[in-house]
């Protein structure tokens, strides 16, 4: 593994916005953006399939990421490594979770929430709470992942209830 520095999420989000790459920040970083103080080592993105190439090029060119060979970049899940950090790029047009819920990128993107931080010059999108809960229902049989996802879902349901009362 290259001795490159840690993945800088803020820098990446700014660079992706500058290149007009359409994607959603998903996973625990999105849960945190909804207000849950959770910690995670991985970075997960759901990228518009039409923007996958640009997304991966940004990772490779600007962030010195270790990526699979270019001929495999058409795969719907690509894992990149930036220093010690893993960056997962999901780019299917649609997903069906363990409960049979279908999630279509365009629709999830249309329902997504824009997070903007003017002071930091930052703007990006995360799925709505409902969509993020649905996205959390992928565990691939991993009991640790299931436990983390259940914890995240509990947080998200609490936050959702809070918003409906607010």
């Amino acid at each position: 593994m290259k001795a490159s520095p840690d993945f800088d999420l803020i820098r990446f989000l700014k660079a992706a916005a500058a290149r007009r790459i359409r994607f959603l920040l998903i996973g625990r970083w999105a849960v945190a953006q909804h207000g849950a103080p959770v910690v995670t080592a991985d970075y997960d993105f759901w990228v518009d399939p039409g923007h996958r190439q640009r997304f991966l090029e940004l990772l490779a060119d600007t962030f010195d990421a270790e990526l699979p060979p270019r001929e495999r970049w058409q795969q719907p899940l690509i894992s990149a490594y930036v220093g010690p950090d893993k960056v997962d790029c999901f780019s299917p047009r649609r997903l069906v979770n363990e409960e049979g819920q279908e999630l279509v990128f365009k629709e999830v993107y249309a329902r997504s929430r824009r997070k903007r931080d003017a002071a930091a010059g930052l703007a990006f999108r995360i799925p709505s709470i409902d969509d993020l809960i649905a996205l959390k229902k992928f565990t691939q049989g991993d009991p640790m992942k299931r436990a983390r996802n259940l914890e995240d879902i509990r947080y998200l349901l609490t936050l959702k209830g809070d918003q409906s009362h607010g």
């Binding site: 840690d6 945190a32 953006q33 849950a36 103080p37 995670t40 080592a41 607010g166």
Partner: protein, 132 residues
Amino acid sequence: MSKPQRSIRLSGEARRIVGREIVRVTLNPVLLSLSEPYVGWSGGASAGERLTPSDLVLRARRRFPRLPLSWAVEGYIALLASGAAEALAPFAVAPYDEVPESVRRFRALTPAEKIRLGERWRRELRAVREAR
């Protein structure tokens, strides 16, 4: 006879939970009269130990989280007047109140601050793991 109304300017927690700065509640005149010993409707020094209208709304919302606000306030006044202190406890704790203070502080951070804090936690977690 029309029911009297009160406009209440909310502060702090009440404003956060109700989501508005000013609310208008319509109250049964008998309950409004009964509330006088407990609620300082006019505010100022004469309010003394009485609840401020904003606190009344906050407690009513917590006690009756699913009722329309005016009904919740009326219900809370009825409980105050009944003198049954145990009945004043929140009927159902709203999720917002279940969230510990540390979480509420996290939620108040800007998107970039959340990321920076998350990255700091991640680095600390990694350092702990590596130290084992």
